[in-house]
Symmetry: C2
Subunit: 404 residues, 2 copies
């Protein structure tokens, strides 16, 4: 297994593009993205658990109910959510694209991201689709990745090559994160492509299993988005024997998928709105995995922990506090905490009480831009990792006036 270039176009048979269509006023920002598979692909998707759901999710869910899709269209700048005509607009996007690509509109995955509750005008999309399709290419994964960005400051893209049944397969993905990130069951916008041959059923199983310990363990701000969605397309063009059941091939696929999703999780968390640091919280020694997850999520979501990390302040009492209110079954007298970065590790709490430590060394460790909050419990073998970011002035600035 190795990291390769090419993003969502790395896998055989996938093309992509991204353009500025005019949904956004800023002409230098791409706002419409397309991913296309030369062959119809098996498709699986997970969606936000928010009861207020973007109209595109309803249309996509319906379109891929047969387990297949061939293209993904996604606009940024407008979430097409809480609009009276949302379903109509999302359906039109599929129809317009289907006509241009000469595929069935029901083989289109549609997604939108941006401001909620403002009608989405179909005009720039309708006008942009011919150029979007015309520009499809093997080198354009980054254009698509740019097209789905909102307040993201960095493009999020990766591809991996791996082997299934002796055949080289590739898997690639792009993601948009930044704000309103607190996935539960589903997640932010992530589109994944692979040329591995895998049945729709096993693809769905792989995705829904994987996200439990990857995207569902990311939180930027505790707000679960209305438009979260992860979609994966597998077009089988690698030529491996189709994966139709559990076994060695499925495990190889899962491993590649997991490597890709963890990479994107870290990118999404580290580029959270206003973030200056990626925070990783690892929990070991919990009663069970579920307990470890509750604790890791609670710590990574704490506004006080996040603010302390922004200030590079080793305020471990707040970590204990977040463990305490997490609701997890934990013996607080057996909690060990240390902070870890490229500059080393410092132990700050043993058996639930503070230990003497060098504030100078702690500061040096916490000034780094990737910090691990390492929690060791004495209750069992459960472990989990969660990802988040610090809470900064810029988070408030970005979100104090997002619409204007």
């Amino acid at each position: 297994m190795k990291i390769i270039n090419g993003g969502v176009c790395a896998a055989n048979g996938f093309l992509a593009n991204g353009i500025h269509s005019g949904i956004r006023k800023n002409k230098s920002k791409k706002d419409l993205a397309l991913i296309y598979s030369e062959k119809k692909a098996t498709c699986a998707s997970v969606y936000t658990t928010n009861k207020v759901k973007g109209a595109p999710l309803t249309v996509t869910k319906n379109n891929i109910s047969d387990g297949y899709a061939q293209a993904v269209i996604c606009n940024s700048g407008n979430a097409n959510t809480c609009n009276a005509n949302g379903i109509e607009i999302a359906t039109q996007m599929c129809e317009l694209l289907g006509n241009e690509l000469n595929i069935a509109p029901t083989d289109v995955v549609v997604a939108s991201t941006g401001v909620i509750g403002q009608p989405l005008d179909i005009t720039p999309i309708a006008n942009g689709i011919p150029a979007l399709v015309k520009g499809l290419g093997k080198e354009n994964s980054q254009d698509a990745a740019e097209g789905i960005m909102t307040t993201d400051t960095r493009l999020k893209e990766i591809a991996i090559s791996f082997t299934v049944g002796g055949k080289e397969c590739k898997i690639g993905g792009i993601a948009k994160g930044s704000g309103m990130i607190h996935p539960n069951m589903a997640t932010m916008l992530v589109f994944i492509t692979t040329d591995c041959s895998i049945s729709a059923k096993m693809l769905g199983k792989a995705l829904s299993t994987d996200i439990q310990s990857t995207f569902n363990m990311v939180s930027v701000d505790g707000d679960t988005s209305t438009n979260d969605m992860v979609t994966i397309l597998a077009n089988g063009m690698a030529g491996n024997e189709e994966i139709t059941q559990d076994g060695e091939d499925f495990q190889a696929f899962m491993k590649a998928l997991n490597t890709l999703t963890i990479y994107l999780c870290r990118k999404i968390a580290g580029d959270g709105e206003g973030a200056t640091k990626l925070l990783e919280c690892t929990v070991d020694g919990a009663k069970d995995e579920a307990t470890a997850k509750i604790i890791a999520k609670s710590v990574i979501c704490s506004s006080l922990v996040k603010s302390a990390m922004f200030g590079s302040d080793a305020n471990w009492g707040r970590v204990l506090c977040a463990i305490g209110y997490s609701g997890a079954d934990v013996d607080v007298n057996k909690v060990f905490v240390s902070f870890v970065s490229n500059k080393g590790e410092i132990s700050v709490c043993k058996n639930g009480a503070g230990v003497d430590f060098s504030e100078e060394k702690a500061k040096e460790i916490l000034l780094e831009d990737e910090i691990t909050i390492k929690i060791t419990l004495g209750d069992g073998n459960g472990k989990a990792t969660a990802w988040g970011c610090d809470l900064t002035y810029d988070y408030v600035k970005i979100n104090g006036d997002y619409r204007t």
Copy 2:
């Protein structure tokens, strides 16, 4: 029923004081508070549900298990939490005070607030207690209120006179809020005194009933403190017939208590760390009260709603989003939202979709420092109110470097 002066000293037989003892370095900041009743009082208390609990809470719970207390001592500057010798120090505080006041140490309620995980030195407290007791007076409620403040910018104090069985009774309270405020079952630090005669059992019932719709509906930052506690002392000196059961007298007491607690809730929320605005979220028309509470809490806790309010931005889509992920059973197509302040009311969402509204008028309404987010549902008669505050640069600033 009317608002009166005097805070925790308004009720007959209660004296208070607050001094700088030296726990804090800043000599102009009081750090030790005392409330004393001339007669032993019935006492009830509710505590944080955080599993990491301040040592003082354990000692207090034990001390008042007989339903009685006569004094409250509280220091700020150090939470006496996650320290190996926490119980020992809290017990010493009760013993030292008991000796000085000539009451049983087990009639003392002890509380601490401040940084977690740094040993609390008994020396300044031991040295300060004689002066603390000597200075007890009827005019000193504000000194006690100052003594318990941490990052609070405003003193929180109120008193009310009311009538029970033809006798004038008084009830007064002080509170400290600011950060790590997200009560559940219990709450921040609040001390309430009354001269109303009421049994320990009915006092406990009154308090635990009241907090469900008052302190438990406040959130500043989603972090449930380790040291939250509300304690009420009733010394019976108003001379009314003791309240020992439900009925007219109990209801009169509940009404006065509720008026006092709602006042303090609003003060705590409006003075949340870094806050520039008090936010109130009212929900009406929910399936039931529990559902209304879930929704109101979800909206008031949303970092995105809080940031939008800081920016006076009518971003109602985020309100819908927070309703959607709250987990409440709600028909999102029947949601109405409006923003209300002293400058009027503006409707921004009807039947789950946006309506045309004047951005200028919305801005004028949202620039006020007390904002109500009014949510009307079409699912039943459940209603609830939650209180919070905006998320600002100053929250991050205060918490980026709290310990130093």
